[in-house]
């Protein structure tokens, strides 16, 4: 479960030496593929989110994901990797000047036989997707420039430390089980989303005005790509191409299917109808919940987590609807809640009883969730205030009513609606 940390510790601290481990072409192949698969999740997310907003915001919402590819894509190469996976400074952040611009790892082969570049790129996709996830919470109402600044800072100041703390040699590395990023990615994004939704306030007209998804068809396509990409996300996090990888992939598949089935049944029972949005939400809930657990639970445990997450997320969204705040695309309801369910719940389904016993491990898990949640909450709030007061984040009324596509990007998504 501490594969990442160990690999990094061993493999990357020094430059290539005559005795660097030989390449394992199979593992390298799988890690290359995993990198591509996680990259695929980003357009997948853009489609998933893009389909759920109103027609006038479809491009703007997709741009949130795509801008993350551009901005974090550059930042990660420049400094992110050095900050997250450099030797630890006080357990909270890494620092390795030789890794700036990835210069120092040009020839490094890691323990396990893969070039460190591949590991760095694989991790980079995680860094990209996390802020892109948050964007769902304040969809349809932010300024593009403010958003860009926000995610850049969030990535540098919140994501990188968190990744370092849990995976990169920081103070939680090795305690909490977080196979593929349940806390670092989903809990932190979910909590950040919640804070942002509360701080920025609801969309104008919410909930009075009906706000319908413009393209559920695209949302379903996106969900399909997310499922496929998640195989890279989870099974790739084994950083090998072997038994653990297979276990992670199996758990991922089982949890996603169980989550989808669970939500379908819940809706069928409560509303007499199973919706497509419900089914894909269930897929997501299952995938999120199994993320921290993928390599460490049996298929039956994965299915249990998927079902649990489905029910919990369904409930969380129901509660949100009653509380009335506007987490537009339910980032907290799915990623926050699902991530917590997964991170805590996995304790009870572990393949191997953990060293200190179940409850000690549960303590570690709670700790992990709390650290990620708290760090993300506080950090996000500070950044939100900062960005809002400087470049401005919340979109002004005129722009919001006109829609982000027109007011922020000077375009509209579906030219086909206009005779031309």
């Amino acid at each position: 479960m501490n594969t990442l940390a160990l690999l990094v510790a061993v493999g990357s601290s020094d430059v290539v030496t005559p005795d660097s481990p030989p390449i394992d072409t199979g593992t390298t192949a799988w890690m290359l593929v995993s990198t591509a698969l996680v990259l695929l999740m980003i357009p997948g997310l853009a489609m998933f989110y893009g389909g759920l907003v109103r027609t006038k915001n479809v491009l703007g919402t997709m741009m949130h994901s795509f801008a993350a590819m551009a901005i974090i894509g550059v930042l990660w190469v420049v400094a992110g990797y050095a900050l997250a996976f450099g030797p630890t400074v006080g357990g909270v952040i890494g620092w390795d000047p030789s890794k700036l611009l990835l210069a120092g790892i040009d020839q490094t082969i890691m323990e396990g036989g893969i070039p460190e570049y591949v590991f760095a790129m694989f991790q980079g996709k995680f860094a990209i997707i996390t802020p892109a996830l948050i964007a769902g919470a304040f969809a349809e109402r932010v300024r593009f420039l403010g958003y860009c600044v926000f995610i850049a800072l969030w990535s540098l100041l919140i994501y990188n430390p968190l990744a370092h703390i849990v995976w990169g040699g920081g103070f939680l590395t090795g305690d909490a089980i977080d196979f593929a990023g349940g806390t670092v990615i989903h809990v932190s994004a979910g909590v950040a989303g919640l804070v942002a939704a509360l701080y920025l306030g609801a969309r104008r007209g919410f909930p009075r005005v009906a706000m319908h998804p413009n393209n559920l068809v695209m949302t379903m396509m996106g969900a399909g790509l997310l499922w496929v990409g998640w195989f890279g996300f989870n099974a790739g996090s084994s950083v090998e191409s072997g038994l653990k990888t297979a276990q992670a992939l199996t758990a991922t598949q089982a949890a996603a299917a169980a989550g989808a089935l669970g939500w379908m049944i819940l809706e069928g029972w409560r509303h007499g109808k199973a919706t497509s949005l419900g089914l894909v939400s269930g897929i997501l809930a299952g995938l999120v919940a199994v993320t921290p657990a993928a390599g460490d639970v049996l298929p039956v445990g994965a299915m249990a987590l998927g079902l649990l997450a489905s029910a919990a997320c369904y409930g969380a969204i129901a509660i949100k609807n009653r509380l009335g705040y506007d987490d537009t695309l339910d980032v907290f309801g799915i990623h926050g809640v699902g991530g917590i369910i997964g991170a805590l719940g996995l304790t009870f389904f572990l393949r191997d009883v953990p060293e200190g016993g179940i409850w000690v491990q549960f303590g570690h898990q709670v700790m992990g969730v709390l650290v990620a949640g708290a760090a993300s909450a506080v950090g996000t709030l500070v950044l939100l205030v900062l960005v809002e007061k400087t470049v401005g984040l919340r979109l002004e009324e005129r722009g919001e009513l006109a829609g982000m596509d027109h007011s922020m990007h000077g375009e509209h998504g579906y030219g086909l609606l206009n005779p031309n």
Partner: protein, 113 residues
């Protein structure tokens, strides 16, 4: 000449077209629109039942000579009604048409309908 505009339920379009054809009215223009009458049609969004304010409707425009007006209206009334009549079945509006011109030939008036 009259212009008959019916706002109907999308699911009845096929029936309305067939009824019109049976009544010898073949020329029509159809447009997607959305509307709100008394109708409520619940949709579900992540477990929340939302009343979509505007529900999809179909607008049917038919230009016809005065003697065909009643036939057309009857055909629509009959074919667009669901069962014994339900909220949301739609409306028919009739306006006066002053002129009608066939672009192909340029002819106008009653024969151009």
């Amino acid at each position: 000449m009259k212009l008959i505009t019916a706002i109907i339920c999308p699911e009845r379009l096929d029936q309305v077209r067939q009824a019109l054809i049976k009544a010898d009215i073949t020329r029509i223009t159809v447009t997607r629109c959305s509307g709100r009458g008394q109708a409520e049609s619940l949709e579900i969004y992540r477990g929340l039942e939302v009343g979509p304010e505007l529900v999809p409707k179909i607008r049917v425009d038919i230009a016809c000579n005065d003697e065909f007006v009643q036939v057309t209206i009857d055909a629509i009334l009959d074919a667009a009604r669901r069962g014994e009549g339900e909220v949301g079945d739609g409306k028919i509006f009739v306006t006066e048409l002053q002129q009608c011109i066939r672009i192909r030939t340029g002819e106008s008036g009653g024969t151009a309908i």
